[in-house]
């Protein structure tokens, strides 16, 4: 299975990257954008999807500062 792990900063933790994006957008003429957060995307093929949560807890994320979500996705064609 091809899976995506979406990792984002935990709510309440200062996210300067999100803020930087939010500040930069109006200058380029993009208004009406709020609550920007920047996190990480990890895509991978796993043989045993049941082990994904454990992988996330142990390596892919730091649960103290990040939340994550696992999403199934299309296999890559190659």
């Amino acid at each position: 299975m091809r899976a995506r792990v979406l990792v984002k900063p935990k709510a309440g933790i200062l996210d300067p990257q999100g803020q930087a994006v939010e500040r930069a957008l109006p200058a380029l003429g993009f208004t009406g954008v709020r609550n920007v957060h920047v996190g990480r995307l990890i895509e991978l093929d796993v043989e045993d999807p049941d082990r994904l949560p454990e992988m996330c807890e142990r390596l892919l994320t730091n649960p103290l500062i990040e939340d994550y979500e696992i999403v199934e996705t299309e296999p890559v064609t190659s």
């Binding site: 933790i13 200062l14 300067p16 990257q17 990480r40 390596l59 994320t61 730091n62 103290l64 500062i65």
Partner: protein, 227 residues
């Protein structure tokens, strides 16, 4: 005394740490794949970009075989000092509380900063005085110390914050100006500034000497050897 400095692939400041330690004793390099701490009295987890800092700083290095030994050594009361990337690795490994997040500037920053010793009750600051100022450089992109509110309150109450950035000197947005914290047992210490780059008057201020002196004095006390 004998220091051991870990070398991960991507470590950069391990030779610097070794040179600094050699001013105070013997210092050997410990290879990341070896499960052998070579009988050292103190372990230094040095700065740099272990495993490229890919994924998340310190995330991959904490799983190196040598880190299992370091965890055991620490559990048995061994002295462990984590500098910059080493601090990040120790947090990731759960040997120190909290985490390091990207600087609020989002940029790498090199700066000679003023630090204040908060607590002298530790093997790492024992030779200093409370409130004493040390000039030591920082150089990192991910040095903003973070711990959840309750944890932070607990750290402060337990006197685990050993070093703070002096007022106005916080380079990265660390909570409570925290520059370095120790664990509850006070034998594991991590800091973002680089004391190993502040030991030689030829190359700059020497605020880092206090840290290494403290470790040597502590080990000498413990083993009864002359400092």
């Amino acid at each position: 005394m004998r220091f051991g400095v870990i070398r991960f692939p991507g470590s950069c400041d391990e030779v610097d740490a070794q040179l600094a330690c050699q001013r105070f004793g013997e210092a050997v390099i410990l290879w990341h794949r070896d499960r052998d701490l070579k009988g050292v009295d103190a372990v230094v987890v040095p700065g740099g970009f272990s495993y490229g800092d890919y994924l998340r700083v310190g995330a991959i290095a904490r799983f190196a075989p040598v880190m299992e030994e370091v965890a055991e050594f620490a559990a048995a009361g061994g002295i462990v000092l984590g500098i910059c990337n080493g601090f990040q690795v120790l947090c990731e490994a759960g040997l120190l509380p909290g985490a390091l997040l990207p600087n609020t500037s989002l940029r790498f920053i090199f700066r000679q900063v003023e630090l204040e010793i908060v607590s002298v009750d530790s093997p790492f600051t024992g030779a200093g005085e409370s409130g004493q100022r040390l000039s030591i450089p920082v150089k990192h992109t991910t040095g903003r110390y973070y711990a959840p509110d309750a944890e932070l309150a607990r750290l402060e109450a337990a006197d685990q914050v050993l070093l703070r950035y002096a007022p106005g000197e916080n380079p990265n947005g660390s909570l409570n100006d925290i520059a370095g914290v120790c664990n509850e047992a006070r034998n594991v210490f991590g800091l973002m500034p680089h004391p190993e780059h502040a030991v030689d008057p030829l190359t700059g201020p020497t605020g880092g000497l206090r840290i290494f002196e403290s470790i040597r004095a502590h080990i000498a006390d413990r083993t009864g050897a002359p400092a």
